[in-house]
Amino acid sequence: MRALEPWVVQPLETFLAESAARLTLLMTASGQVVAQHGFSRSLDVMSAAALGAGIVASTEELARLMGASRFEALVHHGQRQSCMLAAFATPRGRWIGLVVFGPETSVGIVRLFFDQMVQQLAAVAPREQPQPPMLAENFETELNASLKALFGR
């Protein structure tokens, strides 16, 4: 199990121990990986993250068209493995969890402990420092610096 941020480790380890999940990926809504367990290749991690984020985005758009609130979770049942995708709020923004599990556990168990992990993440996430208000002259300076970096001016 690997995590980019140390505060994710404990809640994720607890989830893995209780749920018996085979693969788990936590990512931001834009598909940036935050933590993973069970994947052996970085290419698979990146592909899964991108696909997972895309599926969640499509599903949320579908819900919007139906006039429904966001779906809590999406579960695909397979013959040998099943997959759950769930988006959730954290103090660091909206994240997505992708969990692959087998018949040794159940979707009920996975959801139960996934929800607990979400609560724990919310409790332990470091709070962002509030950004100081941007002054007009600072903004002008920042913008000029960015343009210089992007276009070599």
């Binding site: 159940s106 979707v107 009920g108 139960l112």
Partner: protein
């Protein structure tokens, strides 16, 4: 009233029963429930479904047919489970003062009629 609702009604009328639910044991998800405040249906369904599944496998390894009734006793109450057809399980969460004998009889009778 469906057989499921009837089953839940009969079980929840027994003294000391804090809640009853019908669970899909394979998924650990709630099919129907009648719960008092303080009973977490999602947790009861997932945990009872998982435990019953384990006990079915234990019984099989001992050469026994699947259980007709399970009673998990804790310090502060019990979980009762009566498997029915199609992987449905009737589950009850009861307090320490519950009339266990009557709950058991109601659950075994009702579980066979779940649909």
């Amino acid at each position: 009233m469906t057989a499921t609702q009837t089953a839940l009604d009969r079980v929840t009328r027994v003294a000391g029963v804090r809640g009853a639910l019908v669970v899909d044991a394979a998924d650990g998800l709630v099919v129907a429930e009648q719960l008092m405040d303080g009973v977490d249906g999602q947790a009861a369904a997932a945990l009872a479904g998982s435990l019953v599944g384990r006990l079915v496998r234990t019984a099989e390894s001992a050469g026994l047919r699947p259980p007709a009734f399970v009673h998990l006793r804790g310090d502060a109450g019990s979980v009762l489970a009566a498997p029915g057809p199609d992987e449905l399980v009737l589950v009850a969460v009861v307090g320490p003062d519950a009339n266990l004998g009557l709950a058991r009889l109601e659950m075994i009778g009702a579980a066979g009629r779940l649909a």
